[in-house]
Amino acid sequence: MTQPLLAVRGVETYYGRNQALFGIDIDVNEGEIVTMIGANGAGKSTLMMAICGVNRAVRGSVMFDGKPIHEMPTHEIIRLGISQSPEGRRIFPRMSVFENLQMGAVTIDPKYFADDLARIYALFPILEKRHAQRAGTLSGGEQQMLAIGRALMARPRLLLLDEPSLGLAPLVAKQIFDTLRELNKSQGLTVFLVEQNAYHALRLASRGYVMVNGRITLSGTGSDLLNHPEVGAAYLGGSAH
């Protein structure tokens, strides 16, 4: 078996004395969309931060493309080709849409910039329309598109998305998931997605993990998890899909 692009092994993290993650193991293979679902406070975002080196793993390892990254500073991890759209979007509100996208490409050779920008604008035409507008004045869905677009400007080998559907109308959320599927199919983009919106996330993903209180309780293919009675009960409103 080929080595996974991202391999999380036995990661444990703490907030002060409180342990947040307990021995997390996750694989993300090249070209896959993998999702992690879980309730509020399960530790999904904590795992994201552990991968990016913001809140470091106390035990365990994180390997990217065979290289250990759990002791590297965040900006160096990002430069390896991991791009993150952090929780709550975190766009730069007082900078224009265009400048936000530019910031996404700070680590990239400027010669790619024009092409990449055109690619993002083709993906999210609304961003081109609003390119000179302050990012803070965009609607929630547009901001999310901007956050994803900004992350894509860094030409990631692995895109980490933290709750892209948070606070979005179902239709807008669906549009964003469709775009991700499209990107995965056409460009082979590898995505690791953390979501509360289990139904959409599991339908999109080839594989999924379920996290409860800092531990992974279930894993399997997207459709297996969708049909799993426990997942149905806990995350899909009880009705079997």
Binding site: V54, H75, F92, S96, F98, H131
Partner: protein, 451 residues
């Protein structure tokens, strides 16, 4: 209801609010204007002097001021909600077109200023002072305006620059042009020294530590007598010369060489152009920097540090470079200050200086270079203007000193600014790079973001 009743129902609440305002003002003014302690000269020490007319004038001003304000704002009602639409002037200053026209005009004025017939020694000194503050403002703007790091101890770098020049020229006989880069380098080093411990701090906490840093530098200068001369300061610092020609009456001096009649004004004019050149240099460097990736990274850092990190920006280097470059310009200005005064002492570098520079940046608009010029003129020139208001003595009595009102007006100006233009005189931020068309979005139009 008749016309008369309607107008009464409008006027009454205005009157009521004005009376309330006057009532509050009365109690505020009672201790500040109404009562004065005076020395009796005798054994009983101090006694209270009551100044009822002054108190009445103050309350009257508030009463009628409030009525005028109410009438003005009631005229506006209906047109728009309280949303502070940017005034035409401010909007004009913010747009890059007008800024491009105003900046050269200011420059031309700056160049001919010393030769205007009205420019005597006093006016020139004031001009030098204002330009020094403009330069300091631009330096601090990098740290506070662009990188969003609230620095209350900026004067420390000014002090480092001043003492660098003083010590290097006294002990090693270095000339001004040699000291200038060294002073900048030393100040930048201290900027990094300050930057390291505060990397993880933001907002209030950062402000407190930088404030302490400014005081530490001052106290060290005050107490390290053998090195800095303590509170006596360092005097007889060599003055800068014009390419080796000193400004004196000797045969080899500036005046003699150029066949001019000696005048002490020549040295002042030279200093004026020196600081003007330094300020223009600062303008271009800081203006250029904010268009470079590093400047964009500073802005992004101000907006969202976590997002910056998740985009692969090295936030440590970015912060330190902001501190270092901001400090460097403080060092240049300090070096000039020492050269101009030929005397430095810790007294010149107290917290008030930091506060003034910060106020200039905040008042001018966090990211407008032009705004800093106008606010420096208002802040520094305005204080000088107060000294000129001697005619007020006719109204308020002979012992009235308008320049004592400096801090009061300072505070008043700040409050008014916060009410009407919370983002500074020139609050629009021009996107630094354009794809197709230029467009600025007024800051006042969107809700107040995270400071």
């Amino acid at each position: 209801m008749s016309q008369n009743d309607q107008s009464i129902s409008k006027v009454l609440p205005i009157l009521k609010r004005s009376v309330v305002a006057t009532f509050i003002a009365f109690f505020l003014f009672l201790p500040t204007l109404g009562i004065k302690t005076a020395a009796s000269g005798g054994v009983d020490g101090l006694f209270l002097q009551y100044r009822w007319p002054l108190l009445a004038i103050g309350c009257g001003l508030v009463f009628f001021g409030r009525i005028a304000y109410e009438l003005m704002s009631s005229n506006k009602e209906g047109k728009q909600q309280k949303q502070a639409a940017p005034s035409a002037l401010a909007r004009a200053l913010g747009s890059s077109k007008v800024a491009k026209a105003v900046a050269p005009l200011l420059l031309v004025f700056g160049l001919i200023f010393p030769f205007l017939p009205s420019s005597d020694r006093y006016i020139l000194d004031l001009g030098i002072l204002i330009i020094t503050y403009v330069m300091l403002g631009w330096g601090l703007q990098i740290v506070v305006g662009l990188a969003g790091l609230l620095d209350l101890g900026y004067v420390a770098f000014y002090a480092v620059g001043a003492y660098s020049y003083a010590l290097l020229s006294i002990h090693f006989g270095f000339g001004f042009w040699m000291c200038l880069p060294l002073a900048g380098l030393l100040a930048a080093t201290w900027g990094v020294v300050l930057g390291f411990p505060v990397l993880r701090l933001r907002g209030d906490y950062l402000a407190i530590v930088t404030l302490a840093f400014g005081e530490i530098i001052r106290v060290v200068l005050l107490n390290w007598r053998s090195f800095t001369g303590g509170s006596n300061g360092l005097s007889s610092i060599p003055r800068p010369s014009f390419f080796g020609l000193p400004f004196n009456q000797e045969p080899g001096g500036f005046a003699a060489t150029f066949g001019l009649e000696y005048s002490s004004l020549q040295r002042i004019i030279f200093l004026y152009f020196l600081i003007l050149a330094l300020a223009i240099f600062t303008y271009f460097v800081t203006g250029r920097l904010r268009r470079l990736p590093i400047g964009r990274a500073w802005e992004a850092l101000r907006e969202d540090e976590i997002a910056c990190r998740s985009l692969g920006i090295n936030t440590v280097n970015t912060k330190l470079s902001a501190f270092a470059i901001g400090a460097m310009f403080g060092g240049f200005a300090g070096s000039f200050f020492a050269a101009k005064q030929a005397f430095v002492s810790p007294e010149s570098f107290n917290f008030m200086e930091s506060a003034t520079i910060l106020a200039i940046v905040v008042l001018g608009g966090m990211s407008s270079q032009l705004g800093v010029v106008f606010s420096a003129i208002a802040m520094v020139g305005g204080v000088e203007l107060l000294r000129q208001l001697q005619f007020l003595k006719v109204i308020f009595g002979a012992d009235f000193d308008p320049s004592q009102l400096r801090l009061l007006l300072f505070g008043l100006a700040m409050v008014l600014m916060m009410l009407w233009r919370p983002r500074g005189l020139v609050s629009t931020r021009t996107p630094t790079v354009f794809l197709k068309d230029k467009k600025t979005v007024s800051a006042a139009m969107i809700s107040q973001g995270r400071g």
